[in-house]
C-alpha cells in the first residue's frame, strides 16, 4: 500500500504536480497551511483588484480557501493548480459582485478616485524619502488608473503583469479562448495608457 503510494508520488512528481497539492488531495491539513502561506498574498491581491474593497476581498479570501478545502478532491491533477485556484477565486468574486450589484459586472470607466481603498494600502520599499515619495506617487497614479478600468480589463492586467501568468494560463482562469485574452490585453493596455496620458497632460508616466 505504502509502496503504491510512493510510486504514485514519484509518478505525479515527474508530471510536475506540486507535492503540497497532492498531499492536500489526500486530506493532509499541513498541506493546506503550506499552500495558503504560499498563495495568500497573490490571492488577496487578485481579489482586491477584482472587488476593490478590502473588506469584500477579505471575505472572499476566506471563502476561496474554504472552497479549496471542499473541492480539492475534484481537482484534476493534469490541470494547472494556479489556474484552478485563481478560477475558483474569480468565480466567487463574480458571484459576490452579481449579488451586490448586478450592473457592476458591466462597469464602464469611473471618474471617482478611490485612493482611500487600494492606494492607501500600498506599501513602499524605495530607499530615500524623496525617491520613495516619487515612486509612491507614480505607483498610486497607476493603481488608481488600474482601478478605474472595467473589471474584465483589470483582471487580465493583474493576471499578466502582477501574477506573471502565461497567456494560456490566463485563458484557463477566465475560461476564454487565447485570442480573446490577447485582444482584451491589448484593449486594457490601450485604455490604461489613455487614462494615464489624460492624467499627465499627454505624457506617459507610469
Amino acid at each position: 500500500m505504502a509502496m503504491a503510494a510512493s510510486i504514485a508520488s514519484v509518478w505525479e512528481g515527474r508530471l510536475g504536480i506540486d507535492a503540497a497539492v497532492l498531499e492536500l488531495r489526500r486530506g493532509d491539513p499541513d498541506a493546506l497551511s503550506t499552500l495558503m502561506a504560499r498563495y495568500q498574498h497573490r490571492i488577496y491581491r487578485y481579489l482586491l483588484r477584482l472587488v476593490r474593497q478590502p473588506a469584500d476581498a477579505e471575505d472572499l479570501f476566506q471563502q476561496t480557501w474554504i472552497r479549496v478545502a471542499e473541492k480539492i478532491r475534484s481537482f484534476d491533477t493534469s490541470r494547472n493548480f494556479d489556474a484552478w485556484l485563481f478560477a475558483l477565486a474569480r468565480n466567487l468574486a463574480l458571484d459576490h459582485l452579481r449579488r451586490r450589484r448586478p450592473s457592476s459586472l458591466e462597469e464602464s470607466l469611473r471618474g471617482d478616485s478611490r485612493e482611500d481603498t487600494m492606494v492607501s494600502r500600498l506599501p513602499s520599499a524605495d530607499p530615500g524619502p524623496f525617491e520613495q515619495l516619487l515612486a509612491r506617487e507614480r505607483a498610486g497614479r497607476l493603481a488608481v488608473a488600474l482601478e478605474n478600468l472595467p473589471l474584465s480589463y483589470r483582471e487580465v492586467l493583474t493576471l499578466r503583469f502582477e501574477e506573471e501568468m502565461k497567456i494560456e494560463e490566463i485563458a484557463q482562469v477566465l475560461a476564454t479562448p487565447v485570442a480573446t485574452v490577447k485582444s482584451r490585453l491589448y484593449r486594457s493596455l490601450a485604455q490604461l495608457r489613455q487614462i494615464l496620458e489624460a492624467g499627465a497632460g499627454g505624457e506617459v508616466r507610469a
Binding site: G27, P29, L32, S33, M36, A37, Q40, H41, R42, Y44, R45, L48, P54, A57, E58, F61, Q62, W65, I66, V68, A69, E70, R73, M118, R121, L122, P123, S124, A125, R138, A139, L142, A143, L146, L157, R160, F161, E162, E164, I167, V181, K182, L185, Y186, L189, A190, L192, R193, L196, V204, R205, A206
Partner: protein
C-alpha cells in the same frame, strides 16, 4: 507595403509585444523593425513604462489576522469533509456486511436445523417471502432513523 503602413502595423502590435503575447514570428518581425526605427522604439518605451509600472506595483498586504482566521475555517471544512467521507465508507461497508449476514444467515440456520430437504419445503418458501418482507421493512425503518439522526446532527453542527 509602404513605410507608413509598416509603422502602423508595428505600432498596433507594440502593446502585445511588451506583454509577451505575440507569436514567435510576429515578435521577431517587430524586434527587427525596432532595431532600425527610432520612432517605433520611442513608442515602445511608453508601453514599457506602463507594463514595468504594473509589474512593480506593490502587493497589498492582507491583514495579519486574516490568514489564521481563514486557516482555522478551512481546516474545519477539511476535517468535516474527511469525516463525511469516512462515515460514508463505513456506512456502505456496514450495509453490505449486514445484508450479507441477513441473506446468508437464514438459509444456513434452516439448513442446520432441518437438513437439506427443509430448503425445498413449500412452507419454507412462504416463510422465506415473509422473511424478506420483514427484512426490507426493518432496513427501511433503520435507514430512516439513520437519516433523521444525521439531519439532527447537521442541524446541531450548524447551530454550534
Amino acid at each position: 507595403m509602404s513605410r507608413l503602413d509598416k509603422h502602423a502595423e508595428i505600432r498596433e502590435q507594440l502593446a502585445l509585444f511588451v506583454a509577451g503575447a505575440l507569436t514567435a514570428d510576429a515578435e521577431s518581425r517587430v524586434a527587427l523593425h525596432l532595431a532600425t526605427c527610432a520612432d517605433c522604439s520611442a513608442e515602445l518605451e511608453g508601453w514599457q513604462l506602463i507594463t514595468g509600472g504594473l509589474r512593480r506595483l506593490p502587493t497589498p498586504q492582507p491583514p495579519a489576522a486574516l490568514f489564521e482566521r481563514t486557516r482555522v475555517l478551512a481546516m474545519a471544512q477539511l476535517a468535516e469533509h474527511r469525516e463525511q467521507r469516512r462515515n460514508r465508507i463505513v456506512l456502505m461497508l456496514l450495509i453490505l456486511f449486514s445484508w450479507a449476514v441477513t441473506l446468508a444467515g437464514w438459509p444456513i440456520f434452516r439448513f442446520a436445523a432441518g437438513g437439506l430437504f427443509s430448503l425445498l419445503d413449500v412452507n419454507f418458501r412462504r416463510t422465506w417471502l415473509l422473511f424478506v418482507v420483514f427484512s426490507v421493512g426493518t432496513w427501511l425503518a433503520g435507514g430512516s432513523a439513520a437519516v433523521l439522526l444525521s439531519l439532527g446532527r447537521r442541524h446541531e453542527r450548524r447551530l454550534a
